[in-house]
Assembly symmetry: C2
Homo-oligomer: 592 residues x 2
């Protein structure tokens, strides 16, 4: 049976020592969360993850969700109670506006709590996670009436949210979507169509489900410019907030999936269901992007979350498992064999994961802070810069942290040998659950295209320039500290390769966009590695400042490991970017 311990101490080190949390104390929400409050929140959030959510992870996977004959869906045993505890604890509305019952705390904190929850039980965490995304989209784009009607119930967890984009013939290419909306004459619309892959589309955790649905209003332009966003509740709320009539939306079936079995993935049928427009007609994608961007960061966090819990279990197994002897002579001659931690190759697997985990958590926090600054800073220039960086890094985080998170789950499973292939170990579940994070909210290849095709050139490359400037300033600031040399050297090598790859695109992709497409995936990973290198340099600086404290020396060693073992990959990515599109695009389609 796997176990989980929320990394509260590690998170506090990053927030306080690496990112100097207190310096944001002037921002709304942050003023309510000085370090001691942050610590208390992380500890409480850690506890509910460890004690309530984690014990349901394995059983939830085995039981899965069941769709009943009447179209209702039953979640695994214990989920209802756990959800109630989670909602009652105020965890769903941690960062939501106080006006609607939220606590108005920094988004960064809410996302870190979600990371703990996802480590403990990823399938569970999707239910409140989707609510949070829907809350954000409604909050930003819906009318005051709709906000008043929906947000308090969603923030409290009485109702949950979903996002309905995909149809069977369109996933990435939303311009093809067919679900239609007909004005009812009373301001509402009648929504008709079928959506697939709707996470948490139907379940028994909450009284009502608030679907955010993309549809095309009759007569709207073709393609993505004719898509609108609607609220379609399962039950239509009465004016007093009580539940009224059942809406014409139902779950047609649920999918049998590789993982996240405890989250119901539904085919949703809309049959002239009553819907309420969010924001302007035909501008639905804009509104949905609020939810999608938040969801993409949430998915990136899932990558880190699974990597973290997988590491914890693999390290514990490696410490306990006795097998073979050290190459340099027995280390526990009194025992029948040494712990497998004496084998360098076992340490390689563990350190590959661990050196990712701390760097990735730092990178996530860095990006989450940009999100908070972009929304809360009083300084317009600061807001713009943070928004630039967030936009740039969102696809990098989503693509790289989920790819590597999955690879790490596989590595952690490998530490267990044959035992890792058996369901009881829980390790194979981590692999199956982590796999979806590379796919949903925009497959990682789409993230790479978003990065290279949209985010890089946007505003004349302003965001990328801001990133490079920040890294260069950091390098300069620490150039005189000799102990920083191994970290700065690694960082500069990674960032240098990223600069070269960027240059190559500038010279070769303008005239031939396929050259950008062909290198996009490697560029995204190169970017992620360079950014992780920067994070490790920041971590090293903070650790050097309190070197004598426990854990700091290990941290510095893990950082060196990252520089020695992981960062060299940037060279391969750069080499691939530079090969361009000719070889791959030269093959005719029928040759595949």
């Amino acid at each position: 049976m796997p176990t989980y311990k929320a990394p509260v101490e590690e998170t506090l080190f990053l927030l306080n020592d690496v990112f100097d949390w207190s310096r944001h104390g002037n921002l709304p929400g942050f003023s309510d969360a000085p370090p001691d409050i942050v610590e208390a929140i992380l500890e409480e959030g850690g506890k509910i993850s460890e004690k309530v959510l984690q014990p349901l992870n394995l059983s939830g996977d085995r039981e899965g969700c069941v769709r009943n004959a009447d179209g209702s869906v039953t979640t695994p045993k214990g989920f209802k109670e756990a959800y109630k505890a989670y909602a009652d604890g105020g965890w769903i509305g941690l960062a939501a506006d106080a006006e609607y019952g939220g606590q108005g705390l920094p988004y960064t904190l809410a996302a870190l709590i979600n990371q703990f929850s996802a480590s403990a039980n990823m399938a569970f965490t999707m239910y409140p996670g989707l609510s949070q995304g829907a809350i954000a989209a409604i909050n930003e784009h819906a009318s005051p009436e709709l906000k008043k009607q929906y947000l308090p119930k969603m923030v409290s967890g009485e109702w949950t949210g979903t996002m309905n984009l995909t149809e069977s013939h369109c996933g990435t290419d939303l311009g093809l979507l067919k679900t239609r909306a007909k004005p009812n004459g009373d301001g509402s619309h009648a929504i008709t169509g079928q959506k697939i892959f709707i996470s948490a589309g139907e379940h028994d955790l909450a009284d009502n489900i608030v679907h955010l649905v993309l549809a095309r209003i009759e007569g709207a332009p073709a393609g993505t410019r004719g898509i609108s966003l609607f609220i379609v509740p399962k039950f239509l709320p009465n004016a007093d907030g009580s539940l009224g009539a059942r809406n014409a939306v139902s779950c047609g079936s649920i999918e049998h999936k590789m993982g996240i079995h405890a989250n119901s993935t539904c085919v949703m049928n809309y049959d002239e269901a009553k819907g309420f427009l969010i924001g302007e007609a035909n501008k639905g994608l804009n509104a949905m992007f609020v939810m999608m961007n938040e969801a993409r960061l949430g998915v990136a966090m899932q990558g880190v979350a699974i990597s973290d819990v997988a590491y914890q279990n693999a390290a514990a197994y490696a410490r306990d498992r006795l097998q073979g002897r050290s190459l340099s002579g027995p280390k526990s001659p009194d025992k029948p064999a040494d712990s497998i931690l004496v084998h360098p190759d076992v340490r390689r697997m563990l350190l590959d994961i661990r050196s990712f985990n701390e760097g990735a958590r730092a990178l996530a926090i860095w990006a989450l802070l940009q999100a908070d600054i972009a929304r809360r800073s009083p300084d317009e220039k600061e807001r713009r810069r943070a928004d630039d960086l967030l936009g740039l890094m969102t696809p990098v985080l989503k693509g790289v942290l989920t790819d590597r998170g999955f690879d790490n789950a596989v590595k952690a499973q490998q530490v267990f040998g044959g035992h890792g292939y058996i369901a009881e170990s829980g390790m194979e579940q981590f692999v199956r659950d982590a796999r979806i994070a590379m796919i949903y909210e925009g497959a990682n290849g789409i993230q790479a295209l978003d990065l290279v095709g949209r985010k890089l050139p946007k505003d004349g490359g302003r965001a990328l320039t801001a990133f490079f400037e920040e890294v260069q300033a950091f390098a300069k600031e620490n150039a005189a500290t000799p102990e920083m040399a191994p970290y700065l050297d690694g960082m500069k090598k990674g960032v240098g390769d990223l600069q070269q790859a960027t240059m190559w695109f500038m010279q070769n992709a303008m005239a031939k966009p396929d050259n950008a497409g062909a290198g996009s995936y490697d560029y995204m990973h190169l970017f992620g590695l360079a950014a992780l290198g920067y994070m490790w340099a920041k971590i090293a600086r903070a650790a050097l400042a309190k070197k004598a404290e426990p854990g700091m020396e290990a941290r510095l060693a893990v950082g060196r490991y990252f520089m020695e073992r992981t960062l060299p990959e940037t060279a391969t990515h750069l080499a691939r970017v530079k090969t361009g599109a000719d070889t791959m695009m030269g093959l005719p389609a029928e040759a595949f």
Copy 2:
């Protein structure tokens, strides 16, 4: 629903054009298999895989095996009939001695047929595959009486075989095993103990199951020098070959696993079961190694097999799926969207897989031919050289082809987007099934250690020298052909990095063995890539020789893709090898 087409043409090209099959015509078995016979065998073997085994793959996964209250195990619907068809077709004994009812054909052919079968249905193929390994071990080490008693029934498929090594406290470290054997006084032994992870340990496909069991004879030395190998049949055969009494061996439970659900993975309990010694007492590991080496090659083939079928399905999906438009303008303006094959990043995923598949199949054939030469050549020097190369390459094939095979299954699944995460697509099953190949028959980290710790230094590095000489001779032979330049350059770069890594070990690992352990995994992958580069150079030469024929130009382009996109990874592996063990071994165990 996934589909499968056996790659008969591709295999024939490799056998005939790349490896000049006919030149082995003087060897026993080969003389019965001139190219037209080989073609007929591959076509028939392809057919049974496509028509009988593949249709049971998805349903077999969903149904899984069931252990009944009486300890018997029921395999999924259709497996019994399919097994009978497979056995009746003579496929199990294709390479077995004619003396025992086999066809005596080259082992290479049998392994290629197994590769087709594993693409079609990996879980099924394990049943006859384990029999083949057991047949080989019995054939090489058992007494004439035991051979006569067991082999004909196993070759015909009436009985199947298993290998029993693992116990709950010992997998890699067999020296710890506790199962004991007590002489009965009549030449037989009473075997008592528990074995776990026994594939095909109990099932309903055959009349009898012949367990090959490692156990310790009372009073034997501790460690690996006190292990003996026994035949323990489920039913004790009478002198006339009919089945006698039920032996005291039973299936205590079956495992719930990540994949290969249709193969029963059993806990086997031996309770003074009657066993018959194979070979010498206390030399059991030697005898078992015959089976293990054959099994390791078989597992390597599974990596290629899954990668192949996953590619076929991903390529078909990519051709048909319409989504988005080409970056260089619409390619199918008459359709609502272009096929996703217009996107370079989709081609990247497909070509990563495909450029592996052909190279890996070539590498497998090259190694399989060494196995045949080592056993069948009349020339002792040739036998020894082939045996050297086979020993050297077995861990490389097992480790690298299964790691990359799994990664490719993940990539192929990614091509499907969300649809790949759904069970019906079959793509997620490929991932789950492929995962075990990295673990069983010696986890891949153990393969790396075997390569670096045992195979490299053996006989003063004779095997590695033979490999380098072969590659150098090939380079020299083709140096004057300008069209070979891109392939030779890539190959030489990969092999050069391998030479550097070898040199680094020679200089740094003698005094400090952990330096070898720390770099072993990267060295193994570096070796695999260098060998694949060599294979692609050989393929290119054969393709250039018949350039005008269909498919050859595509093949040459795929080979260039491999050189441009995959081979650059060798630099990262070399860089990692050179970092040594210091950083990772410096961390105290409690810091993990």
